[in-house]
């Protein structure tokens, strides 16, 4: 009855986390693993985009998400959060960056704070999967091409035409309805056309490109 709502005790992450942690082979054991991850999280907060092996990136990503999420939830007056930041960020000036730059940036986000891409592996070289881990909203140019801007691309031409046809059909439908309603009353065509655009904007939900 008086139990706390468990789901609110810890931050809910917006990424898929593996049920089991990776050991990330290290001669110092679990401590060495954590030091590796602390270095990665520090580098991510510092550089905002890093390229590294997939396993280490995926493992560090969850901790970075948790750190930012807690910082947003509790703010910089919360002792536990401050300790968490102190632990994960090896360079202490980054604690300021976390609360003064990243928290305002991600306050109103409803998606994850980080992004991960698969990167090509070196050839010839180590046969380990590589990846790029980045903070969203970083100042670098985007890694993936933006296919929604160029309206001449084939899929955009098709989608634009589909949207136009949808609007035409709606217009015709509405005109028919008005004509049927008015019956013998003579309606001016100008009133019909002036009404149209508002209706379509609300009704037309044709999705754009991805």
């Amino acid at each position: 009855m008086n139990q706390a709502d468990v789901s609110k005790l810890i931050s809910q992450l917006r990424i898929a986390v593996r049920p089991k942690a990776r050991n990330l082979k290290n001669k110092d054991g679990p401590e060495g693993r954590l030091l590796k991850l602390r270095k990665t999280v520090t580098a991510l907060v510092k550089h905002e985009r890093i390229e590294l092996y997939y396993n280490r990136a995926d493992e560090a990503r969850g901790y970075a998400e948790l750190l930012i999420s807690n910082a947003i939830r509790h703010g910089d007056r919360h002792k536990a959060t401050m300790e968490l930041a102190d632990y994960w960020l090896l360079e202490k000036q980054l604690v300021h960056k976390l609360f003064k730059v990243l928290v305002p940036r991600y306050e109103n986000f409803n998606v994850s704070y980080t992004r991960m891409y698969k990167a090509p592996r070196d050839y010839p070289g180590m046969y380990y999967k590589k990846s790029v881990l980045e903070l969203r909203g970083n100042p670098y140019p985007a890694l993936t091409p933006d296919l929604s801007q160029n309206r001449n691309l084939l899929h955009n031409v098709l989608l634009d035409e589909a949207r136009k046809e949808f609007k035409r059909e709606q217009l015709a439908e509405l005109a028919n309805k008005l004509a049927a309603e008015s019956g013998t009353k003579s309606t001016t065509t100008t009133s019909v056309t002036s009404d149209m655009p508002k209706e379509q904007k609300t009704e037309n939900e044709t999705p754009t490109t991805v």
Partner: protein, 331 residues
Amino acid sequence: MSVVAKLHRTTWSTLKQLQQNGRKARFSASATTSRNDLFTHEQRRQREAVGRVDKIEVRYMGQPEDVTLVMNKHISTPYNCAQHLSEGICKRSALALIDGSVPWDMHRPLPESCTLQLLHFFVAEPHLVNKAFWRSCSFMLGAALSRIFKTEARLQLHSFPSPNIKSGSFVHDVVLGTHTWEPTKAEMRAVSAEMVKLAARDIPIERLEVEQELAQEMFKDSRYKNAQLPSIAQQNQGRVTLYRLDDHIDISRGPMVGSTRFLGKCTIIGAHKLSNKGATDAFYRFQGVALPSGFMLNHVAYSLLEQRAQKLNPARLPNEPFEDQQQLQLS
């Protein structure tokens, strides 16, 4: 004893049936092989007619850097130029642009010195390459249809109108030996699957210009193509442009993309009956929508495109009188 006799009778009847089917299939198969033999023969003849090899200078403009290539006149193609640049460019280039304005097939020999640009689907102004893609889709649809229909259906390819992407679908008009075929979803899916199979096989699309007489000889068993040939040849100084995909040969003005590999997501979604043709046959219009490989589209958005492609395409119908020969099929 009676069982043996029964068995014998059944095997005999199936054998006979098989033989009959085989004869039917052999007839159309032999027409295809003879057409292909003529195509290959003419291709070789044209290659040998080049004679002494002259050199041309091709100025390539684009990534990774502008270079001048010394190529063979009437032999080297834009694809060969791409081979000098990189494997990535070879794979990516769907169409070439000669002297900044003339679209050119990737596998068509270059006749003289020129500048060369290689186009792909993500360039800033992709109109030309989009159009070539749409045309290739119509052409591939013809190949897929002629593979998938049994001989009993008496399928004859008629033509395809010039590509219009804004209409939302690519089209191939055919004549089927029935008045009352209602395509089911499964049948349309089978045609789509055939298109996907063609795409997966990465077959180069070859181009060949031939004299009208040879084209008549090649299409002598195809009634509709044979009727179209004189007017097509008349517009092009007695020559006809043919395209080949594996063993499928069709007439088209071109240009087309270099390979079937460029077809990505593809759905053949509509087959509309246009009109009856004679006592037994009827015109059908097959329609589909496709995206080049590499385009990722949300499935909701793609389903909207599919719905639109299902409606009858308003392009010129094959049974309408050819009032304007320029418009006549196969651009």
